[in-house]
Amino acid sequence: MTMQPFTQVTGPAVPLMRANIDTDVIIRIERLTALPKDQLGPYALEALRFRADGSEAPDCVLNQPAFRGAPILLAADNFGCGSSREGAVWALMGIGVRCVIAPSFGDIFFSNCLQNGVLPIRLPLPQVEALAAQCADGAAMTVDLQACTLTAPDGRRTAFEIDPLRREALLHGLDDIGLTLKDDALIRRWQQQDRLRRPWAWPA
């Protein structure tokens, strides 16, 4: 499975400005036990998007016509906290999300995004809020990973930071396993030495 490369994305940014949105809320556990990874989109954020009777929640921003299929998600602190389920990323991809911008992320969710070609960008809350205000009517913004810039609907450009190794992997859709196996001789040598150093760490 090769990761989809990420270079540039332009489109509406849906503002979901609530702190601590957890991965249980992003995708319910029973959807993961019942469905393959490419069929999770309809259930992404279902507790917010749908009412108890299954009908759409009319006041949910995700249901507004301007934001359906929005490739960018704006969020508040600690987005994707909680469970390690990678299905949270697959579910967001299933509704078209390619980039999430928030002040902070759950650590495992952050890693899982990078494993799937979804770009998580950390930006101070006031900046995310400013973007949310500008994007409130569905105006498009642009995320450029090559230049590491965000372009707001008013044309103003902001730089963002991303780890160089991760940027490289995202830009080229690099496969981590392939990269690591190039170091297999090194791994096996480390293991050989460790068996001498810590024999107790190796099950009989």
């Binding site: 499975m1 400005m17 609530r18 702190a19 601590n20 957890d22 249980d24 809320v25 319910r28 556990i29 029973e30 993961l32 036990t33 019942a34 990874k37 507790a47 108890a52 508040a76 602190d77 600690n78 906290c81 909680g82 469970s83 390690s84 389920r85 990678e86 990323v89 902070s104 992320f105 759950g106 650590d107 495992i108 890693s111 899982n112 494993q115 799937n116 780890d163 160089p164 190794l165 981590d176 396993i177 990269l179 690591t180 196996l181 170091d183 297999d184 090194l186 791994i187 480390w190 293991q191 460790d194 810590r198 024999p199 107790w200 760490a201 190796w202 099950p203």
Partner: protein
């Protein structure tokens, strides 16, 4: 340069420095369960890759297995499918599986330490965020997603960025009736659910040293609810004695002594500097319970739930109002006295023998209140057998609790066992998220003794008042 314990264990596992804080890190133990295990095993098989070191991988079904007495794999049909996939996948890959009914089966984070699969100073991963539990033994343990799990199966390593280091010192001793769970909830309430994001947390101080190993596992279990991928407690003589004689620990004698000698070196340097330091007065920690839909919504048992009108800003006001609405609580109401419909004693936070003893002490000679459904789900087959050998199941059954089979059960509700919509559950688990225990379910997190106290009184109760 002075190093923290976290740095020392991390550095000892770097196979290659990848620069910019990244390392190719060796994985000493990889645990698989029925939910995240099968897709990772299928992915490596599909790529035509062998498992790099199947002897370092261990598996058990826990998430989607029924906890119904007398259960088999197919009792919960969807879970039966996942169980079958785990069984076939591990057999094909040469991975040891602890299957239903066998000693060793159980919640991964309960069975790993219990069997001595997890040891101090090891790196341990699992496709589960509560893998940080194992840090209670002094292991560098962290949760991963499916892709990272696949990577580790194929290479026995992970490409990881070193987190920042945080220490939380808990001075003084916990008061009577106050447990590791209360301390953990108190810390989350005080510092917030995002306090540990990007950090590895080392818990230190007199109160932590005074905890038994199972209490340390509970404390580290909730590190991820503080936002941290890692929780860690330095191993000590208590840890070493707890591990002696466990089936996968080094055998007693020379091998164990050599390991113990290494474990005694696992302490941080005095002068080591943490990126963030916090401290609390453990003696002042009260029995603690959550009122809302984030573990940070934790308050003392004698406190009142917040009033949105008193919130400092509009964002908080909205969040508090939404949580109160979901939880069916009135602004400013006392949390004690809130009636409960369900009681769940179990999960990787609190399902070990000491947890069940604490709950049984409260249940003994009392009756579950009318209208309350109370479940006890032991964390592992070994815990179940040990509890039954002590007669704890009889205590629970005599009091009207259901005594069930080991697994994750109603903590994550992946096995069809759900709290009904709008029903209120006091739970010894670790997450009170919207819908966590079932759509519309209302969860209050608490210690095993507090959960048992709520079961016998029918409402959220200060367990110290029952004594």
């Amino acid at each position: 340069m002075a190093r923290t314990l976290f740095d020392k264990i991390w550095d000892a596992h770097v196979v290659r420095d990848l620069g910019d804080g990244w390392a190719l890190l060796h994985v000493d133990r990889h645990l698989l369960h029925d939910l995240s295990g099968p897709p990772a095993l299928a992915e490596v098989a599909q790529r035509g890759l062998p498992l790099h070191d199947p002897q370092l991988v261990f598996a058990t079904p826990d998430h989607a297995v029924s906890s119904q007495p007398g259960r088999v794999a197919s009792t919960f049909a969807l879970g039966g499918r996942l169980h079958g996939a785990l069984k076939r996948g591990t057999a094909a890959a040469g991975v040891k599986l602890f299957d239903l009914g066998q000693p060793g089966q159980g919640i991964v984070h309960v069975m790993g330490p219990e069997l001595g699969i997890v040891l101090p100073g090891l790196t341990v991963i699992c496709g589960d965020s509560h893998t940080c539990t194992n840090g209670g033994l002094g292991a560098l343990a962290f949760g991963v997603g499916s892709s990272e799990s696949t990577h580790a199966l194929a290479t026995q390593t992970l490409r990881q960025h070193k987190p920042r280091r945080m220490r939380i010192r808990c001075d003084g001793r916990l008061a009577d009736g106050v447990t590791a769970k209360d301390l953990a909830l108190h810390l989350i309430g005080r510092f917030g659910a995002a306090a540990g994001v990007g950090h590895a947390i080392e818990y230190a101080g007199e109160a932590v040293r005074a905890l038994d190993v199972e209490g340390r596992l509970t404390l580290c279990n909730l590190a991820v609810e503080l936002g941290a991928r890692f929780g860690l407690v330095a191993p000590d003589e208590r840890t070493i004695e707890w591990l002696r004689g466990r089936p996968y620990a080094p055998p007693s004698g020379e091998a164990f002594d050599a390991a113990a000698a290494h474990w005694r070196t696992l302490v941080g340097d005095e002068e080591a500097v943490f990126d963030r330091e916090e401290s609390v007065d453990a003696a002042a920690v009260p029995p603690t319970v959550t009122w809302g839909t984030s573990p940070q919504d934790a308050i003392a048992i004698d406190a009142a739930v917040p009033d949105p009108a008193a919130a400092p800003d509009e964002g908080t006001r909205g969040a508090v109002a939404a949580a109160l609405d979901y939880m069916g609580l009135a602004p400013g109401a006392a949390i004690a006295g809130t009636p409960v419909d369900w009681v769940f004693i179990g999960s990787c936070a609190n399902s070990r023998l000491s947890d069940l003893r604490a709950a049984a002490d409260v249940a003994r000679g009392r009756r579950v209140a009318a209208g309350v459904t109370a479940w006890v789900v032991p964390g592992s087959e070994n815990v179940r057998r040990a509890a039954e050998a002590e007669g704890l199941h009889r205590v629970f059954e005599a009091a009207g609790f259901a005594w069930r089979e080991p697994g994750c059960s109603m903590c994550v509700a992946a096995n069809g066992e759900q709290v009904p919509p709008r029903a209120r559950c006091i739970s010894t688990s670790n997450r009170n998220f919207v819908g966590r225990q079932g759509p519309g379910a209302r969860t209050h997190l608490a210690s095993p003794a507090m959960a048992a106290a709520a079961a016998v009184t029918g409402c959220i109760t200060d367990v110290r008042r029952l004594a």
